[in-house]
Symmetry: C2
Subunit: 894 residues, 2 copies
Amino acid sequence: MSNSKWVYSFGGGSAEGRADMRNLLGGKGANLAEMSSLGLPVPPGFSITTELCNHYTANNNHYPDELKAEVDAALAKVESAIGVKFGDADNPLLVSVRSGARASMPGMMDTVLNLGLNDETVAGLAKASGDERFAYDSYRRFIQMYGDVVLGVEHHHFEDILADHKDDKGVALDTELEADDWKDIAKKFAGKVESELGKPFPQDPHDQLWGAISAVFGSWMNDRAKIYRKLHDIPESWGTGVNVQSMVFGNMGDSSATGVCFTRNPSTGENAFYGEYLVNAQGEDVVAGIRTPQPLTIAEKELNATDLPSMEESMPEMFKELCDIRDKLEDHYTDMQDMEFTVQEGKLWMLQTRNGKRTAKAALKIAVEMANDGLITREEAIKRIEPNALDQLLHPTLDPDADRNVLGKGLPASPGAACGKVAFSAQDAEDRVAKGEKVILVRIETSPEDIGGMHAAEGILTTRGGMTSHAAVVARGMGRPCVAGAGQLRVSYQDQTLKCGGQTVNAGDVVTIDGSRGEVMIGEVKTIQPELTGDFGVLMQWVDEIRELKVRTNAETPEDAETAVKFGAEGIGLCRTEHMFFDPARIIHMREMILAGDVDGRKVALSKLLPYQRDDFINLFTIMKGLPVTIRLLDPPLHEFLPTNDDEMVEVADAAGTDFETVQARAIALHESNPMLGLRGCRLGIVHPEIYEMQCRAIFEASAKVSKDSGETVVPEVMIPLIGSKREYDIMHDMVQRIAAEVSAETGTQLEYLTGTMIELPRAALLAGKIAEHAEFFSFGTNDLTQTTYGLSRDDSGSFLERYQEQGIYEQDPFVSIDEEGVGELIEIATERGRATRGDIKLGICGEHGGDPSSVIFCHKIGLDYVSCSPYRVPIARLAAAQAALNAEKLIDA
Amino acid sequence: MSNSKWVYSFGGGSAEGRADMRNLLGGKGANLAEMSSLGLPVPPGFSITTELCNHYTANNNHYPDELKAEVDAALAKVESAIGVKFGDADNPLLVSVRSGARASMPGMMDTVLNLGLNDETVAGLAKASGDERFAYDSYRRFIQMYGDVVLGVEHHHFEDILADHKDDKGVALDTELEADDWKDIAKKFAGKVESELGKPFPQDPHDQLWGAISAVFGSWMNDRAKIYRKLHDIPESWGTGVNVQSMVFGNMGDSSATGVCFTRNPSTGENAFYGEYLVNAQGEDVVAGIRTPQPLTIAEKELNATDLPSMEESMPEMFKELCDIRDKLEDHYTDMQDMEFTVQEGKLWMLQTRNGKRTAKAALKIAVEMANDGLITREEAIKRIEPNALDQLLHPTLDPDADRNVLGKGLPASPGAACGKVAFSAQDAEDRVAKGEKVILVRIETSPEDIGGMHAAEGILTTRGGMTSHAAVVARGMGRPCVAGAGQLRVSYQDQTLKCGGQTVNAGDVVTIDGSRGEVMIGEVKTIQPELTGDFGVLMQWVDEIRELKVRTNAETPEDAETAVKFGAEGIGLCRTEHMFFDPARIIHMREMILAGDVDGRKVALSKLLPYQRDDFINLFTIMKGLPVTIRLLDPPLHEFLPTNDDEMVEVADAAGTDFETVQARAIALHESNPMLGLRGCRLGIVHPEIYEMQCRAIFEASAKVSKDSGETVVPEVMIPLIGSKREYDIMHDMVQRIAAEVSAETGTQLEYLTGTMIELPRAALLAGKIAEHAEFFSFGTNDLTQTTYGLSRDDSGSFLERYQEQGIYEQDPFVSIDEEGVGELIEIATERGRATRGDIKLGICGEHGGDPSSVIFCHKIGLDYVSCSPYRVPIARLAAAQAALNAEKLIDA
């Protein structure tokens, strides 16, 4: 790829880039340029494009020839804007070097500050700033950061030197160290780098700069970045930009400060300025969560009941300027902004703005309020919500009346309640989850290395760091409840304990966290269902006005059906009748049926199941109040109902009034090499029609009764599973019609119903045109269709699926998001052919993909009538359907 | 369906029908019409169309209103041609009523002779013929046949009455009975019918006629007919015609006779008139094989070393007339004819002609000779041979030098040698075969009820009946070796023994039959490979000039490869490398590899397998002499190489130098719910690349060596199994290239090879365009593609496949003939997309369908480059490919 321009300058009230160039400049660089153009105080600098990152990766870590000249020119511009020179021994220009990808990747990419310092320029900085202690502190910070990030000298080496120095001097705090201490420490740091690497710490500022740029580009391909991208579906091809910017210092004494703020509350969505800052600190100190920061406003201070002075109080002028900037930026971007700022000796500088990450609750509130205020349209409000994020709102929260054995309190960093066994390391968390346990990850503070464990955990608890700490930001992004900075609690990794007020929690003990209140409880606490009103209700109403796809649910129990209706389900798209046979009172008859030697024996057993099954449907039809209910006839192979070990077989034999040998022989006879591809679905209906006949009878007797009782006609949809050819379907279709006619005659009821099939085999998709001659609806069973299209058993894919995702063979787990290329094409073929035969054929999807937003968008695109998903995914599907109708591309976190 | 004409008349030198109306009139009716038009002596009659059969079946066994008038008119025509009246008490017209389907279905359909006789007309027949004995014999035959076939009175009732009567009279033979005996017996027969049915035997000839017509149409749907159609792929929709024809009598004394003859020898194909006849007999006597018939010609008489006088000797004028008709019909039909004739008191009548069934050997000889004589073209000769019939010629025959313990001798009714355990009933034969045994079905004579057992058996032996008996005709049609009419042998169903000359064979004992010589041997006799020269060689040469599809073989052993080359294979299309690991010397290393805890352990074990694998390929490349060899890398899941029971696990542990627990744990870890859809094929290559690397190394080291040694470049085709996506293929492709480059560098050889994949998953077919970006060939793995497209495990389908075929859901077993609608469409999609990306991509098929003629025709139609099949199917595929090139429709036995 050839590009005429690799470097874009900004600062001093103008810029070469714009906010809409984020793909090229990365988010940070694009927004720095935009802020410059808006006339906001941005330290001058330049961005190197993401295309250069791709060029660098593709060319074995080499740069194009023309880059050096472009960087030199941009650097000269900065020098001229500030009036200081890079490498000037008297008054050096110092720069930060940061990554800036298209999508925000917090903590993933590496940063170097104070670049340009060396043994000479540090003296110049001391002179120019008039603060020798600051200059040498800055120098040692630079050596430490550069040594770690660029040169790969592990940071504990530096921490050891610092700790030894403090011990020698008999002091505890960094603030107790003086200029000479830092001078000494900087020398020791540089010496450590030399002894570790066998060559001296680089003194040439240009060498430093190129080293840092390469480190940023190189870090795009490090493991942490790869994992983050995998978790967030970010393509490798996007690349990162590099931002080189003149340094400003928040650590030049008490008239300096640094902070992070949000134009609205990112946790609740409340329209209140919100943030944290630290006096006399560099920006990394706030984000890294090492010092507990101060509140930005008086209101926050009161809310958090802290004594730390707010910026509103201690720096009122700076605060006012920042408030103006807040208004300007939110108006300009029409979205909640997450900003970084630094005050250097009484002068405010803006270092970053971006659309702020927020909880689902906050996202809802902000979107609804902005739309109501006319700042954005309702359509835009709908597009702003990541459908999967709703999941946070739909799950139970803690019952406020339940007893809580509160161990301690921290910051409410990410809402929702979570409960699980304590794990003190990311690895332990992953190991426990792999064994099927639910886990709360408990850390003093989290770091990018913990990403895997955070993802595995139900919730996250840290004892250090604020609302913008790594743990808080990442947890909100993942939708995991999080309590951060719970300073009363003591974690010992050594002892594997969490202690507070004389109580001790060991690894593996159960705790509950309430991310909305910041509380940590011992044991499990009772939960309550979420409220689905307020902002959620308003948005979902807008959503329903816009979406075209109907949303149904997969449910067979009254509980699930009720939950789904509450969540807005417009019918049942999949009622799996087999689940109804596992109840102990029923499975015995099911087994009797399977063990019977002939049709008559099976019919006797089936006649005992009929009343149960009929009651099941009466319940469902009553709950669904005339909404469509699609009932799938028995699907799994019969051996699933038989036990596999001898003891249980003896029990079953006793219960069924037969002997062990009979049960064993039947189990052996029914054994299959590949049950997924065996005698199941409609094959059972062909071989043992009496089973389906009983089920149809139960359906029609129930619909006749509920129609009569309620006065509202119930229109069940009878679904034949695993159809692979037209005649197979036709035989089953005739059977359904026949039983309906029988029940109609017996009950004197005019029955209304539809008969249709699942399309879950490639052959059924191809033959859809013929099958549709009689089938009145198709429901795509995407689980099985994925299995057969890929030749991939979901149960057995665990041994290699991860490897496949790592190697980029599967970009997505095909059982989570529809594989549009393969499975999707079959669905499209079936849709076209089905409709060609029968224009009004009803088309839906009932695999687990029905609740996956990108799959919902696909279903909308190809014109299905509905999706069906598990009850808790119904609102997600509704929102995704509306976004699809708005022709929204998949939203990338901005 | 409405048709203006249901009935077609023939006879008296003209006819309303023609030979090319066989679809409408059935084969027999069409040919009777044709013979009439040719001026041959055909007793007048009429045919009711096959469309009427469909109408009758579709309308719940009711006739259209207009039929009666058409039948009456046609009957009147016959009456006027013969000059006698139906039901005339003085000189009655008698008719036969026979079925006549589009395809010959020997013995399947029912026949009634002498219809029109009743208590009155029998006297008229006696008077008119001047032979009372003949008249009453005819009457009792009619009552018996009509009673059995039309009225459903079981034939043993009649046989018992006849036997009792003979006992009473103290005679043994029918010929010893006189007119009064037959009169008495006829009365008893009629009485039996009345006592069985509760109503008298029908006396009205018109009632008799309609009863017989309905019985024929009804018999189209009887079980025997259904089974025959299923075995021979005859659609139910074809229907049967009914032929009503004035009777002629071969049983009117010694100047009367009846016979069956072929224009050429149907067993050897020799251009010699060939047939059998019986003096003073009705046609059924010859075909049913109840009396052993006499030879037609002197030559035959000498060949069979019989004393029975030939027709050539005893009826020289009739014989000469028949010879003229033979010449006329063969010239007219340009194919070998199978004719039935009757001589009634010195007058020859032709009752049937049709293209004669023949052995594969005869078919070849006749086709080649007719083409060489210019009677037909070479193309026509090729179309004449049913590819599957070649199977008879390709299998071993008995070694002429081997010791033969000859038990007895019969007629060489269907060629080829077969060996198996004796079963004395069709049921026993089927049961034994179901248990995996090979069976020779031994019967006194066979009947249509035995079809299932005949199909199951390796060969058939009867002790009664001639070359045109049921057993002989059906066996030739099925390609089963058959010895018929072995009159020296005695079968006792009671004792379950076969005896001859003091030797006894019990059920389950092994015998060998030689259908080419008519010999029956005790025990197993050594066999030799077939000669592939002569007519076979000539025809295959013509075939090779015409066909466009290449034919390769599936082979991994040197033996198979050598056989295939001899059969004309043009390469190996599928070498399954896993078969090479089951040898005891190797499986131990395979297991070591599987049990190894890490990559290094696996590599050590693989390094021990490398020399074996390399030698395998050296052998194959050497045998194939530069022909292409496609090698599929390891495909099955690793657990297939581990034992499943504890004892074997202990052995394996010992052999592999580990403990039982390790072996057991590994087996459990590798267990899969659906191995077909699990960790196999290229998934192994992705997860354990070292396995495929070893295999590629073996391939390339072998090809380097053989190329060097032979001076001829070996171009292996490395095939990656179970590809489902592009990136998966690309990773594997890169691996192959890498190993090739390594071996090339190490050996200093320029390697030539292709890398490609199997298309055996629906997703691979859909993504073929992308996969073809790097893949140089596709081989359709139609076994797995059928399994995944249908969602049907071949191993587990047995429990319902038969039911599916019975219910017409699957017209063909999709694992035998390619499902063109579903699987076929995927193959077409992949073909189009693959070629769109890579115009010269090599396309072939390597599933078992590669040897199935109709599948070969499909492969030709969609333009594949080659098919690959098992060695013995190679000539069949070659012939099918030529027929496909000739645009031949699937040949139906004429």
